[in-house]
C-alpha cells in the first residue's frame, strides 16, 4: 500500500484532475461547435512553451503560461490572416495554423538542447504521468505530514489549482455560459457580454490545456476536451446532467486508463507497462464508442420531431 501512495497516487490524481479540467470547458466548446479549438490550443502551446523555455531556461509555471498564451494569440492572428488572405473557411484555416505551429514547435525542440529538462517531443505528446511520483511519501499518513507534502510533484498543486479555478468559474458563470451557448443573440439583448464570455471560455480551455500539457501531454488534452462531453451528451438531454456525466466519464477514463496501462499488459502476460496517457485517451474513446452504441439519447432528438 505504501508503494501505491508513493508511485501511483499522485499520477492518478493528476490524471483525474487534468481530465476534469479539460472536460468541463469541453462541454461548452462541443455545444458551440468549437470542439476543434481545444485541439488547436493543445497543439499551439508547444512552440510557445519551447520558446518560453529557451528564453527563461526554466520550465516553471509562469513562463510556460505566458509562452503558451503568446502562442495562442499568434495562432488566433494567423488563423484570421489565413482565413482572410486565403479566403478559406475558418475550420480549414484553424487546421492549417495549428498543425504548422505544432510542427514548428517540434522542429524547435529538436534543434535546441533541452536535454537538461524533460521537455522533448515524446513528452509533449504523452507527457510523463508515470514519472510524477511522490518519493517522500511512506504511506497514507504522509498526506498529513507537512514535510512529505512539500515533496509532492509540483504538477499536482498546479493541476489542482487549474481544475479548481475552472470548476469555480463554470459554476459561477453557469447561467451566462448556458444562455450564450444556446442563443447568443438573445443573450446579447439581455446585455450579457457575449464576446467576452466566448473569449473567457477559450481562455479557460487554454488554462486547462497548458496546465495539463506539462503533466500529461497533448494526447490526453485533446481526448478529454471532446470524448467525455460527447459521450455525456448521449446519456442525457439536460446540460446540468451532461456536465456531471462528463466529469464522471473523465474520472473513469483517467483511473481505468492508468490502471490498464500499468497492469493490463502484465495481466495479459506482457512484461512492460504502456503509456498511461495513451491508455487514458484510448479508454475515453472506448467510452464514447459505447455511449454511441448504448447511450439512451443516441438516437438524437430530431428523430422524434413531428413532420
Amino acid at each position: 500500500m505504501n508503494a501505491f501512495v508513493q508511485l501511483d497516487l499522485t499520477p492518478l490524481l493528476i490524471g483525474v484532475l487534468a481530465a476534469i479540467a479539460c472536460a468541463l470547458p469541453g462541454n461548452f466548446l462541443l455545444l458551440r461547435r468549437q470542439a476543434l479549438i481545444g485541439d488547436a490550443i493543445s497543439h499551439v502551446v508547444l512552440p510557445g512553451i519551447v520558446v518560453a523555455f529557451l528564453v527563461t531556461g526554466t520550465i516553471t509555471t509562469w513562463p510556460m503560461m505566458l509562452g503558451a498564451g503568446g502562442a495562442a494569440i499568434v495562432a488566433v492572428v494567423l488563423i484570421e490572416a489565413v482565413r482572410r488572405l486565403g479566403r478559406i473557411e475558418p475550420g480549414a484555416a484553424m487546421g492549417v495554423v495549428f498543425t504548422a505551429m505544432f510542427a514548428a514547435g517540434v522542429l524547435l525542440l529538436e534543434q535546441t538542447d533541452t536535454s537538461g529538462v524533460h521537455i522533448d517531443v515524446e513528452h509533449a505528446l504523452y507527457g510523463s504521468l508515470e514519472s510524477l511520483i511522490w518519493l517522500s511519501a511512506d504511506g497514507w499518513g504522509s498526506l498529513l505530514d507537512p514535510v512529505a507534502l512539500a515533496g509532492l510533484p509540483p504538477e499536482l498543486p498546479r493541476m489542482a489549482a487549474a481544475a479548481a479555478l475552472i470548476a469555480l468559474l463554470t459554476g459561477v458563470f453557469w447561467r451566462p455560459l448556458k444562455l450564450s451557448t444556446f442563443d447568443e443573440g438573445f443573450a446579447a439583448t439581455l446585455g450579457l457580454p457575449v464576446a467576452a464570455i466566448s473569449l473567457g471560455l477559450v481562455v479557460a480551455a487554454a488554462v486547462a490545456a497548458v496546465a495539463a500539457f506539462d503533466a500529461v501531454g497533448s494526447i490526453i488534452v485533446i481526448a478529454m476536451f471532446i470524448c467525455p462531453p460527447a459521450a455525456a451528451r448521449l446519456m442525457t438531454n439536460r446540460l446540468e446532467r451532461q456536465v456531471a456525466w462528463s466529469v464522471a466519464f473523465a474520472t473513469l477514463s483517467a483511473v481505468l486508463g492508468y490502471v490498464l496501462a500499468g497492469w493490463g499488459p502484465l495481466w495479459l502476460g506482457g512484461t512492460h507497462a504502456v503509456s498511461a496517457a495513451g491508455m487514458i485517451a484510448t479508454v475515453s474513446g472506448v467510452i464514447l464508442a459505447l455511449a454511441c452504441l448504448l447511450g439512451p439519447h443516441r438516437a438524437r432528438v430530431g428523430a422524434a420531431r413531428e413532420a
Partner: protein
C-alpha cells in the same frame, strides 16, 4: 428663427440630427448596417408609435432582420442611434423582449422547455439566485399563455417547429417587457401556432405594449398589424397599414419581384 444648433448644422453642411423622440417605444435614426462591402441596411429612420403593432416588410435580403439585430446591438451597425422609450438602448434593455428567428439556435441543445422560458428571467435570477417555486410558476404561466404548459419538461428538440416558436414567445413573455421585437415569428409554423401567436400578440397590444415583428406574409399584414415599415435596404415607406400598405409602395419595395396579379389579391389600402 432656427436654433443655434440648427444654424451650426446648416453652416457645416452636415445632416440634421432630429432629437430622439421621447414618447416612442422604439426609434432608430440613420441606421446603417454592413457586413463588409455593400450595406444591407442603409440610413433607415423609423419611429414606432406607442402601443402599435408594426410589421417590418420587405423582400428576402432586404435587411429586415439586420435592422432589428443592429437596433438591439446583436450585430454592429456602421452608424445609427437607437432610442427605446426615450432612453438609449443600454438603459432600456429590461423593457425589451426579443424573439429571434427559430432557425438561429440549435434545437438539439440539451435543455428542457421550462429551462428556456426561465432564460427569459435571467435579469431577475442573475448569476446565482436559486430558481424558486414562484419563478417556476411564472414560467409555467407564460407557457400556458402560448398553450405549451403540458410540454414544460420536454427536451426542446422533441417539439415541432411551431411548438418551438411558441416556446420562444413564452420566453419573451417571461421577460415582462413593454416592447416586443420578433424576427419572423410566423416562419414555418402550423396554422394553430400562427393563431396562438397572433392571439398573444394582440393581447399584448391590449395590455398597452408595443409589438414590432419582421413579417414575410403579405396576405396577413392587414389582419395582424396596424402599422407597417417597408424596407429594401433603404426605407421605402412607413405609417399606418390603412394608408401605407399600398400597391404602389409594395411595387417600390419589391421592385419587379412581386407579380401584379399577386398584389391584386392582397388586402391593400386604397391608394
Amino acid at each position: 428663427m432656427p436654433s443655434a444648433e440648427v444654424r451650426l448644422a446648416a453652416e457645416d453642411g452636415r445632416a440634421m440630427r432630429p432629437a430622439a423622440p421621447v414618447d416612442s417605444p422604439f426609434a432608430v435614426q440613420e441606421t446603417t448596417v454592413s457586413y463588409g462591402g455593400k450595406p444591407v441596411v442603409f440610413n433607415v429612420d423609423f419611429v414606432a408609435p406607442p402601443n402599435s403593432m408594426v410589421a417590418i416588410v420587405g423582400p428576402n435580403g432586404a435587411g429586415k432582420s439586420s435592422l432589428l439585430k443592429a437596433a438591439l446591438g446583436i450585430v454592429p451597425s456602421v452608424s445609427g442611434r437607437v432610442t427605446v422609450f426615450g432612453e438609449p438602448l443600454a438603459k432600456a434593455r429590461r423593457r425589451i423582449a426579443y424573439v429571434p428567428q427559430r432557425a438561429s439556435v440549435d434545437w438539439d441543445f440539451p435543455t428542457r422547455v421550462i429551462d428556456v422560458v426561465l432564460m427569459g428571467m435571467y435579469r431577475e435570477l442573475g448569476l446565482l439566485k436559486l430558481v424558486r417555486r414562484a419563478h417556476r410558476e411564472h414560467a409555467t404561466a407564460c407557457l400556458a399563455r402560448v398553450g405549451m404548459a403540458d410540454f414544460a419538461d420536454r427536451q426542446i428538440g422533441q417539439l415541432s417547429g411551431g411548438q418551438q416558436q411558441r416556446v420562444f414567445l413564452a420566453r419573451a413573455l417571461a421577460q415582462g417587457a413593454d416592447l416586443y421585437l420578433l424576427d419572423e415569428p410566423f416562419a414555418g409554423v402550423d396554422a394553430a401556432t400562427e393563431k396562438a401567436i397572433i392571439d398573444v400578440l394582440k393581447s399584448l397590444k391590449a395590455e398597452r405594449k408595443t409589438v414590432i415583428a419582421v413579417h414575410h406574409d403579405l396576405a396577413t399584414v392587414a389582419d395582424y398589424f396596424d402599422h407597417v415599415l417597408l424596407v429594401n435596404v433603404r426605407k421605402i415607406a412607413d405609417g399606418p397599414v390603412a394608408t401605407t400598405f399600398t400597391g404602389e409602395n409594395l411595387q417600390a419595395t419589391y421592385g419587379g419581384r412581386l407579380a401584379t396579379a399577386h398584389i391584386d389579391q392582397l388586402k391593400l389600402a386604397s391608394a
